[in-house]
């Protein structure tokens, strides 16, 4: 089933790219954070797929993906917290309006 | 008694003692600060007078050598080829010495700094900082002329940059900050090129082996002697071509040597300055305080010429020979370009700036000649121009103090109210245009004589500069002191003692050099003789 891995990897790549596109175009800050989660999910998919179909299958990939999920959750939480604090100070969640510092 | 002291270090670092002394004088004690600072410049001056008299004229070697290990950096030697050695390191030593070429420049530095310190009595604010920076600058300049190690040289060279930046930027005229910036960036780039050239040299020709107790060490050295030895000995690594089988990272190909000379030329050409790298110094000349320009024009420009001789010609005689014609052309261009532009300036300081460019062209010609006469002329010109431009800017300072202008069209007839200063101005002008009996002539004669032996046409074209010099110098000098005088200047006071003393001193030296050039020729002669013997034997080999 060596072809299976390529399908998983391609799916991961598609997912990663969708996440990337979302992170770079969406206006709403929450959605931007969500898009990053999609990217991390794509990575997880990769890791888990490699754990099964990789050159040297091992559980390490799954363990790695668990760490990734945990970290991603923490990151999302912190991101939302920052967003809330920012919202309190600025009153918007539009990333396009976050340009008080430039040049 | 003096002979056993590290006289060069004493000279070089005695100004720092002055800095420390000044630290303890309160800011508002202007009189004491000035007195202490001037006294502090006298120490190295007296020491360098002693050095000058004690110097052995009968040898061309380095004298008063002081050497101390300084930076000794071990390098990683885990590679296959390096493990067997006891140690592998690069080292920069604190190594100072003078020969006949640097000796006069050391003296010049001491003299002109003292004069500048006297001239700085016009400085209106923040004397304390001013003098501290001046003294720091002096240390840097001494170091440049004494250092025998590439790294040490570079460090001193860079040290001069910073105080100068402050001196221009704080005490200059309207556009001072721009001038300071231009000075800094331009000279910084020059130093950058120099550093690359130096480090390439150190990493190739500086590579040596040493035996200690049966074990061999490898090291990179910045010592000029080591580098020269490797560059000149035919069987050194530097001159061993790598083959398909043998790698040699220390090889310097002829093309590389050529490029190194070119880099050194650019590096020191900025300082000298060589056309077209001269525009920075115009701003410095016009915007900096005259006492600062005295040092700048009097000494700092000479560092460029000195470096070109010390590192360009002495380390790369063969390449210098390849470069001789372009050098001569550059020299001629400098002379004529500077002269023609000086002739069209309406501001006295700019006239002097362009005349400096013109005069530095003569140094280049002397160097390009690559013979004893030319080289002697180049050194004479360095000293002579140092004295003359210092004197001229001393006068600029004193005149500006009285007239508040240096625009030639607004000046005139000053000989009536300030005859003494105008007389000195006339002498300085005459020295600047190369009047025999004053110092400018000797250098002009020697430099042209030297070049004439190898490139008569270039020398002849360059000699046109002698006419142009007369034109622009007389134009400027006469515009200032001749002609009718505006009424409102009638009550002006002639030079005070503190102004007259440095003027007379400088005139005395200009005269001395003009009448009895051997006073400089004697220490120089053996050095240059030995040097050219070395060069000819090495180029032959």
């Amino acid at each position: 089933m060596s072809n299976m891995i390529l399908s998983y990897l391609t799916l991961g790549a598609i997912l990663f790219c969708i996440g990337l596109y979302g992170a770079l175009t969406k206006k709403n800050a929450v959605i931007v954070l969500l898009s990053i989660e999609i990217m991390l999910n794509a990575v997880n998919l990769n890791l888990v797929a490699f754990a099964k179909y990789g050159a040297h299958p091992s559980l390490t990939g799954q363990v790695f993906s668990l760490f990734t999920i945990t970290v991603a959750a923490a990151e999302a939480a912190v991101g939302i917290a920052i967003l809330i604090a920012l919202f309190r100070a600025k009153g918007t969640t539009d990333v396009n309006e976050m340009d008080s510092m430039k040049r | 008694m003096l002979a056993n002291l590290p006289i060069l270090s004493l000279i070089a670092f005695s100004p720092l003692l002055g800095v420390i002394l000044l630290l303890f004088i309160p800011k508002d004690q202007g009189r004491w600060i000035k007195a202490a600072a001037i006294a502090a410049t006298l120490v190295p001056l007296l020491l360098s007078v002693w050095l000058y008299t004690d110097f052995n004229n009968r040898t061309g070697d380095m004298q008063y050598v002081e050497q101390m290990p300084w930076i000794h950096i071990p390098l990683n030697q885990e590679a296959e080829g390096l493990r067997q050695f006891e140690s592998f390191f690069f080292q920069f030593n604190y190594s100072m010495a003078v020969d006949g070429i640097s000796l006069p420049l050391v003296f010049l530095t001491a003299l002109i700094t003292t004069m500048a310190a006297l001239a700085a009595v016009h400085v209106k604010k923040r004397w304390k900082t001013f003098y501290m920076l001046l003294l720091l600058l002096e240390t840097g300049m001494f170091g440049v002329f004494m250092a025998q190690d590439l790294f040490l040289f570079f460090v001193f060279f860079e040290i001069t940059l910073v105080p100068m930046f402050f001196l221009i930027g704080i005490w200059g005229y309207l556009d001072k900050e721009k001038a300071a910036n231009k000075f800094l960036i331009y000279n910084g780039l020059g130093s950058a090129v120099m550093l690359i050239a130096f480090l390439i040299l150190v990493s190739t020709a500086g590579f040596s082996t040493a035996q200690s107790g049966g074990q061999a060490s490898l090291f990179y050295s910045g010592d000029i002697k080591v580098i020269a030895h490797n560059l000149f000995s035919p069987d050194s690594y530097t001159n061993t071509k790598p083959s398909e089988f043998v790698q040699n990272p220390f090889y310097l190909s002829p093309g590389m040597k050529w490029a190194l000379f070119a880099m050194l030329l650019v590096a020191f050409g900025v300082k000298l300055p060589i056309f077209p790298f001269h525009t920075w110094m115009l701003k410095v000349h016009t915007e900096a305080h005259p006492s600062v320009v005295m040092i700048h024009s009097g000494i700092l420009l000479k560092m460029g010429a000195y470096g070109l001789i010390r590192f360009g010609v002495l380390l790369f005689p063969a390449e210098a020979k390849q470069w001789a014609f372009p050098l001569a052309v550059l020299g001629v261009v400098n002379i004529l370009y500077g002269a023609l532009l000086a002739f069209r300036q309406t501001e006295f300081k700019l006239v002097l700036a362009y005349s400096s460019i013109s005069h530095m062209g003569i140094v280049l010609l002397g160097i390009a000649a690559l013979n004893e006469a030319g080289m002697t002329g180049a050194v004479f010109q360095m000293v002579s121009h140092g004295l003359i431009s210092a004197l001229l800017f001393l006068l600029v300072g004193s005149l500006y103090e009285r007239t508040q202008t240096t625009m030639l069209d607004r000046l005139g007839g000053l000989a009536k109210t300030v005859p003494f200063m105008c007389g000195i101005l006339l002498v300085a002008g005459m020295a600047s245009l190369g009047l025999p009996g004053l110092s400018g002539f000797i250098s002009e004669f020697l430099a042209f004589a030297g070049l004439f032996g190898v490139m008569p046409a270039a020398a002849a074209v360059g000699a046109l500069g002698i006419i142009f010099a007369a034109v622009y110098v007389l134009r400027a000098v006469m515009k200032i002191s001749y002609g009718p005088m505006p009424e409102h200047w009638s009550g002006m006071r002639d030079a005070r003692f503190v102004e007259a003393a440095p003027m007379i001193t400088l005139v005395a030296f200009i005269l001395l050099l003009g009448v009895y050039p051997s006073v400089l020729g004697q220490p120089l002669q053996q050095t240059i003789d030995v040097l050219f013997q070395n060069i000819t034997t090495k180029m032959g080999g």
């Binding site: 060596s2 969406k26 709403n28 929450v30 999910n41 299958p57 939302i80 809330i84 | -």
Partner: protein, 168 residues
């Protein structure tokens, strides 16, 4: 040549869900819809993990992503009184460049993935996937595991400090 077996069918459907959810998220204009569609993606992914014999990961995926994270995001949206709609994009050049960039990026990845073949080997998920993972975590990966605990604490404290309302 790809054989059309059950596993592949499952993969095919799940990946359609995954991509579909993600694409919907990108194209929806209402923020809440976006979150819902992304939750759908997360759940479909956990299905894929099951296919890949990573039951524990699949479980965690549902728990954390589809559960905790989506809820968190919805809270985030609520607390920031979002404008409900995504407007028409105001930066066409930017979006175009992003699209081109992302496509290039995908092109590079796809090219590299397609050029590679993995020899493959036997995969031993262990008798009990969760137990095996647990053993690994507590032995081989105990250091990062402990550090993750620090990390979570920090994130916890940080989030509180940042998000709590200051009394004036």
């Amino acid at each position: 040549m790809m054989t059309f077996d059950g596993e592949f069918l499952a993969f095919f459907i799940l990946s359609l869900f995954v991509i579909g959810g993600a694409v919907f998220m990108i194209s929806f204009t209402k923020v809440v819809h976006m979150v819902v569609s992304i939750a759908f993606t997360f759940i479909s992914l956990s299905g894929l993990y099951v296919l890949l014999e990573a039951e524990f990961v699949a479980f965690v995926q549902v728990l954390i992503y589809a559960g905790a994270l989506s809820i968190l995001m919805i809270f985030g949206i609520m607390m920031t009184r979002h404008q409900d709609n995504e407007d028409v994009p105001r930066r066409p050049l930017h979006n175009f460049l992003v699209a081109v960039g992302v496509l290039c990026f995908f092109g590079i990845l796809f090219f590299a993935i397609q050029r590679t073949s993995f020899p493959g080997g036997d995969f031993h998920p262990g008798e009990d996937n969760t137990l095996a993972i647990g053993e690994l975590l507590y032995n081989q990966y105990v250091i990062p595991f402990e550090i993750v605990s620090v990390l979570l604490t920090v994130a916890f404290i940080g989030a509180i400090v940042l998000a709590k309302r200051e009394e004036e």
